[in-house]
Amino acid sequence: MLKKRLIPKLQMKKSRFGNRMVLVTTVRFDEVMEIGDPVSQAKIYQAQAADELVFLDLDASVENREPVTDYIRRAAEELFMPLTAGGGVKTPDHFRMLLENGADKVSINTAAVENPELITRAYEAFGAQCVVVAIDYRQDADGREKVWIRGGRTGTGLDPAEWAEKAERLGAGEILLTSIDRDGTREGLDLETTRRVADAVTIPVITSGGCGLACHFSEGFLTGKADAVSAGTYFCFKDENPMQTRSQIRNAGIPIRIQT
């Protein structure tokens, strides 16, 4: 039976204390805190039997530069688990660059909205399973969820479920959904929107934003109907690790990989 997945999210930015990329946590896409080295943390997650990893370069879009490949190449030397890379990806060549350097899947966000044809071109060149469309959203003043791009700086007016459905039609293989409002708050996932998106598509959905307790993961699977839950902050500041969390998820009756 296919297992539900637990996917640590590794967000990267340039450090304020030296010229290197470091891992950061955010709260509502703001309040950056530096917490570690990307490859070091990735190795830790592998040792703790995380199911996959997502690496996001938070600066690339803003700085309008090419995605960097150094971290993914170093990670792929020592990690034998699925890796998704994203941040600043705009062209099929960027896809190729990241895939050749060790990524198994590539995530596109801003570029997918601004140039939806990219989804199809990537699907045709590399297959749907390589194409992850990341969707960040927040609630507007009317209480409706709307998609935001450029790291949450530019609104699009799109509804996340409708956009996810369109992305699937264009060739996406997976959706990575993030609630900006709940990001880093540890108040729990947005189960309603997760469910709406999961119902709107037939491809797998990874949900994220707000995990603060082990039961939040379980809720994401059971109530949100997500196939995977991703967490960027949850494991960084507590004495919790994926191996502990998966025991608790298992205890809630959810099929998850327990092998050591």
């Binding site: 592998q46 792929a76 895939l99 749907a128 293989g173 797998p204 196939d227 092998q259």
Partner: protein, 207 residues
């Protein structure tokens, strides 16, 4: 020496890194001549079937692989799309001819039930034949990482080495003499995946 076939598709670095991690000597070969002297071959693959075969032909790998695998019996491990390429034909994006080593077709997986999403992405339990050397020293219910929308349907049940359940039976691995294939990615399946690779490496010189 393990020759990894580089035909421009597939996560070669991961395969090579994994083989080196377990202590094997692996070489990425972008043309047939470079395969000479290999005791074992690995055919990785990520992407679409049509492109895969087109690239293999374009780089003149087909004849060389036929010679080494069918002619000389060198053990080969096909991974994901690489395993699919060993079939007679695929129906992904039209009908395409494969290497024809297995009497099988590559068809889209059609799980019974809307809750089964396609692509089949994630970790799934695999049931394997007890005497398959590829699965030696593994627990009875290993879990591996899958990411695919199509699978190999073998007409000869003797070729079917392992299956998984995803709204129906999905081919997880094949074996026909010196030809091995896994639909899942051993180089992405952590410890149990590395064990599969170790087991394959042990095949060198034994077939």
């Amino acid at each position: 020496m393990i020759g990894i076939v580089d035909y421009g598709m597939g996560n070669l670095m991961s395969v090579r890194n994994a083989l080196e991690y377990i202590g094997a000597e692996a070489k990425v070969c972008c043309e047939p001549g470079e395969l000479a002297g290999a005791d074992l071959l690995v055919l990785p693959g990520v992407g679409a079937f049509g492109d895969c075969m087109r690239n293999l032909r374009h780089r003149n790998f087909v004849a060389a692989l036929d010679e080494m695998v069918i002619g000389s019996g060198i053990p080969i491990l096909g991974i994901c799309l690489g395993m699919q390429a060993m079939a007679k034909r695929s129906f992904e994006g039209g009908e395409h001819e494969g290497l024809g080593w297995l009497d099988a077709d590559v068809v889209r997986i059609r799980p019974a039930g809307r809750e089964y999403r396609v692509p089949h992405i994630g970790w799934n339990d695999v049931t394997f034949e007890g005497n398959n050397p590829l699965f030696a020293d593994l627990p009875a219910d290993p879990v591996f990482y899958f990411v695919h929308s199509y699978h190999v349907q073998c007409r000869n049940s003797g070729d079917l080495a392992a299956t998984c359940d995803y709204g129906g039976t999905v081919t997880a691995a094949v074996r026909k003499g010196n030809i091995f294939g896994t639909q899942f990615h051993p180089e992405k399946s952590q410890d149990q995946g590395l064990r599969i690779l170790e087991n394959f490496v042990r095949q060198g010189g034994q077939c």
